[in-house]
Amino acid sequence: MVDSIDSNDGIFRTQNLNLYYGENRAVKDVSISFKKKEVTAIIGPSGCGKSTLLRTLNRMNDFIDIFSTKGEIFFQGEDIYRSSQDVADLRKRVGMVFQRPNPFLKSIYKNIVWGPQIHGTKKDLDELVESSLRKAGLWDEVKDRLNDLATNLSGGQQQRLCIARTIAMKPEVILMDEPCSALDPRSTARIEDLIGELRKDYTIVIVTHNMQQAARISDKTAFFYEGELVEFGDTKSLFTKPKEKRTEDYITGRFG
C-alpha cells in the first residue's frame, strides 16, 4: 500500500500519527516519511486532512485549542511534540508559506530581515536580503524599491516575497500550504518554476488541490482521502500506474 522507504532516511517521519479536532479524527494512523531535498506533494479532496498534517509539522496547530495528536512525528530523528522541544526553533528550521500571501505591513526589506532579526542575526542583512530575493526570483523586480511597502506588490510578487522571507531564515524544510491557490496562472507558473529551483537546496512539502501541479513539480506524491494515507510513492508512477482504485478514481477526476 505504501511504498517501502527506508524510514530512517526521512528528514520528517511520522509513526502511526492521528490528529484530532476534539473528538473528530482528521488524520488516521498515518506513517509517512519526507526525504531530504525532495519535493513531496500531498494531494486529496478538501477535508482529507492534508493541510492539518502539514500544519502539524511546524506545530502551527498549537493555536487550535481542541487540537490534539496521538502517535509520533520525528524531525531529524527527534519527536517534535516532546516537552523539551523549542517550538520557536522548530519553526525557524521548518519554514512555511501560506495559501494567501501574507506579507507584513512593512517595507520589502524589513519583511525579509524581520525573521532573521528576531533570531538574533545582526550582520550582513543587505547581503541576506539580496540573496533571498534572488533565490525567490524577485530581486530584479524590486531591487530599486526595497523600502516600499510590501503590501503594494502584486499578489504573485507578494507570494514570492513570502518565499524569500522564509528562505532568509535558512530553513531545512519549507512547508507550502496551497501556495498558488490565490494566484493567477502566470504567477502560479513562476512559483512552480521557483519550486523547481528551490528543490536543489531545500526539502519541500507542498499541499495542493491541483493534481497537474503536483505532477509537474514533485518527486513524491502522497494521496490522502478522508484522513487516510491511501497511496504514497514516486510521482510519476502514482500518476501513471496508481496501485489503489481510489487513487485512480481521484486522479482521473471521478470524484473530489
Partner: protein
Amino acid sequence: MFHFLKLIMRSLLKRSNLFKANSIKKDWFDSFVKGSLGLCALISIITTFSIIFILGKETLLFFEQVPIGDFLFGTKWEPLLEPQSFGVLPLISGTFLIVIGSSLVAIPAGLLTSIYLGEYAGPRTKAIVKPILEILAGIPTVVYGYFALTVITPMLKMIFPSIEVFNALSGSIVVGIMILPMISSLCDDAMSSLPRSLKEGGYAMGATSFEVVWSILVPTALPRIVAAFILAISRAIGETMAVVMAAGATPKMTMNFLESIQTMTSYIVQVSLGDTPAGGVEYQTCFAVGAVLFVMTLVMNIIGRKFYKRFNLEIE
C-alpha cells in the same frame, strides 16, 4: 423588548402577505413603512441641527457682550462674581488636566488589556474578563463619581496628605477607569480584525507572542488603535458627572493634580443647577462653553474617523 419587536415584525410581515393580492395596497404599505422609517431618521437629524442652531445663536449673543479674544485667551473665569471675567482658559486647562491624567491611566491599561485578552488569555479567563469589562462600561457615571469621592480620594490622601478633598488626580483616575473598557474593546476589535494569516506568518517564523504583538499586530493596527485612543479621549473631554464629583468646581489655571479644578462640563452643570436667570450673560456663558466643548469633541471625532479610514484602506 426584543421579543416584542419580533412580534410586531411578524404581524407586519403577515399583513404584507395579505396585501400581496392587491398590488396597489401593497405599494401603499411599502411607502408607509418607508416613510415612517425615514421620519425616525429625520428626528435625529432635526435634533442635531436644532442643537447646533441654539448653541450657535446663544454663543453669538454672548459674543455681542464679551469680546471673543477675552473669552478665548483670558486666564480668569469668574462669570458669576463681580467684577465678572470671562476667560475660558482655566476651564480648558482643567479639562486638559483630566484628559491627560485619564489617558495616562486608560491608554496603557486599555491597550495591554486588549493584548492580554487577544494573545495570552485562555478561553476561560476571557469568559470572565470580557463580561466584567462590559459591566465596567455600563456603570452609571454618577456612581463612578461617588466611588472617586469615597474610595479613590481617601486612598490618595494616604499617599499625598496635602491633597484637596476635590482634586484632579482622583477625577483623572476615575475617568481613566471609565474609558478603559472602551479603549480595550476598540483595540481588541482593531487587532482581531487583522487577517489571521498575518499573525500566523509571524508565528511560523518562530516568533514569540511578544514579537508578534509588538512588531506585527500593534504596528499594523496602529491607525485604528490611535483612532480608539482619540475616541476615548473625546469621551473623557465630554465626561461630566464623575468629574464634578471628584475634581470639584474651582476654575483654576494649574498643572497640579492635587488641587481642585473645574472642567468645561462641570461648569455647565454648575450653571444649569444654579438659579442663573435665563437670558443674562451668565446664562449665555453656558452656551459659549458648550460650543467650545462641541468643537473640540467634533474635531477629535473627525480625526479619529480619519485614522480609522486610513487603516481600512491599507488593509484592503
